[in-house]
Symmetry: C2
Subunit: 366 residues, 2 copies
């Protein structure tokens, strides 16, 4: 019988799960990555930093928020508190090399089909017969582009490439990040989003912007940001006659703007590439059982920021990493694969094994 | 029999232990504070911030590094990542009021003496017969002043009060903080300390400066800092003739400096006020058993940054708060005081119950 476990994606979730498998003594697995390890992070705008601070608390049971295995601290490795995407990409490459993870880079999975109790994973290079598929495709490569025009946050290579005053559409952490950087560069920024004021107090911390972002928005560099809360954009069109973009709001008002608006409109789940492997929510999220396994077919697991368990949202690294050991333990038991129980215990001791979700906050401002 | 538990000190440790007792349903206790709640933090230089970042991860088992009870986040309450001392003092006052803690402010404990199985706690107001003494005096009010001259870090109200280029003696986090602020204000700073280069890589994270401080030292504002590692200061004298301070190093060299040097030479344990209640290490630290209880007399407990367990150093809030529930459980059992087991469980679930010290890092760069 086939023993191969395949992980689709060499980002934070794929590398994290690969390290867990290695620590558990499981050797028969393969990570398939369409670009390179950490590609999404390497593609971040170069000035953009993590909103979750890294700290070296792992010696006392408080694991670095951005670590993907126990006793690791990217903040310590990189000597900084808020890593850039490039630094984090380097961290992922470094730990993948250290653990000698079997990663096939520049290899794209084009199709996955069920064949009896197994799956045929077809890439642009080869085909693999596997018994387990772990979907770890992230979201950053799958930007939501709801309008005819607009430059998506994910397309930005450097904030210094932007010139002129600009409209930002969206109100989450990425919109705040974009607004901060453009304002820091001296541009006037108008942010349109349907929510309430960014700095308004919310009784639920998970619905608020991060402390890091709140600090940035209160700083001098953010003086050029003009926020327009309670404003839903419904369309963005280009008028050749006006040589300008016309942005229509839900209330019918129309705004003209010379520069192409910046879209901070979020991301699709990367699992959507493999639509037939999951059932889907109305919001376009894959549905999984209590072991993060597809409700549609067995031995297909979801990991990474698209993961939901009922109302609980695992959109940050420090959240979804806590499910690695839970679903991996399940899949190893399902397939009768033996593993090192002591290594699993290390994950439990390090706040990286979250099976009781009753304690968790429900919402999340991603 | 007397049931009163007395906590000496209304700082982070005293307030944290008071909240724990309240949550456990224990009512017979009293916190005695010589100034006001959070006084040490309120006395920090007003620009100085916590080096430990606050983050709202408590919904997913990653408690804010600076919280003193489960589900609390000073970073969320104050809307910032690195709190100032004044903000933290406000947080402590706020939570003490919320939990209606019995705190006697502006009351100084002048003497504690054993009388049979009890202790007489004498204040400048009154005397209390108690069965348990919890020493939570912190360290900030007890600066080490090893030289004839020098302004101690603890004496600084605002970094803007300092004019002129200045020598700093000491190499820990407080020296780096002082150097950063003076350099930011445009003054040339010379830092003399016996250790190695601040930014040198150390394989042990606990011996390195925090990520926050590393970022500050690498920034533009730190360009006026000149570090002199491997330099031990042995004396600071004042020469009227030269109208200058003369600083002698261990290697015999003498440095003249116009401005009074700034001493970042650390702190004594506040427990030293009650010398007869503890045995002491050669380094001037109180010795406790595995339940943080004095090895000399029963029912006297130590909490806060002076706490050591063999080689393990509990110098940060996120470290020593993990011992609150361990020693409080012990003292309640010792005295047969009943308590809410469920509340204790909440502390265990929140990384606030550290009884197995084998997992902990030993050293610490405080």
């Amino acid at each position: 019988m086939t023993q191969l476990i395949t992980i689709i994606g060499g980002g934070v979730a794929g590398i994290g799960v690969g390290i867990l498998l290695t620590k558990l003594g499981v050797e028969e697995f393969l990570i398939i990555e369409k670009e390179e390890i950490g590609a999404s992070f390497l593609n971040w705008a170069k000035e953009t930093r993590f909103i979750t601070p890294s700290f070296t608390g792992h010696g006392f049971g408080l694991l670095d928020l951005n670590a993907v295995f126990p006793n690791s601290s990217p903040g310590y490795t990189m000597g900084t508190e808020h890593l850039t995407g490039r630094m984090y990409g380097q961290y992922l490459k470094g730990i993948a090399a250290y653990f000698k993870l079997p990663v096939l880079e520049k290899t794209e999975v084009t199709n996955i089909r069920k064949e009896g109790n197994e799956y045929i994973v077809q890439t642009n290079q080869n085909a693999y017969k596997v018994n387990t598929v772990i979907v770890a495709c992230g979201e950053y490569s799958f930007p939501k582009r709801p309008f005819q025009h607009g430059i998506h946050y994910a397309d930005v290579e450097s904030w210094s490439d932007f010139e002129g005053d600009r409209m930002i559409v969206g109100g989450g952490e990425s919109a705040a990040d974009a607004a901060f950087h453009l304002s820091t560069n001296g541009w006037k920024v108008d942010v349109y989003h349907p929510g309430k004021d960014w700095l308004a107090f919310d009784a639920d911390p998970s619905r608020s912007l991060s402390p890091f972002t709140r600090d940035r928005l209160k700083g001098e560099d953010s003086q050029c940001i003009h926020e327009h809360p309670h404003s839903s954009v419904v369309s963005i069109e280009y008028s050749k006659k006006l040589s300008a973009y016309t942005v229509t709001l839900k209330d019918g008002s129309i705004i003209e703007t010379k520069q192409e608006p910046l879209l901070c409109t979020g991301f699709h789940s990367g699992a959507s590439q493999f639509h037939s492997l999951f059932e889907w929510t109305e919001d376009g999220l894959p549905i999984v059982n209590e072991y993060d396994e597809s409700t549609l077919v067995p031995s297909v697991y979801l990991t990474g920021p698209s993961l939901r368990q009922r109302e609980t949202i695992f959109c940050f690294i420090y959240k979804f990493r806590q499910r690695f050991a839970v679903f991996v333990e399940h899949l190893l038991r399902q397939h009768g694969i033996s593993y090192d129980k002591q290594a699993l215990e290390e994950y439990k001791q390090s706040n990286m094994y979250l099976d009781d979700l009753t304690c968790c906050e429900a919402g999340c401002e991603c």
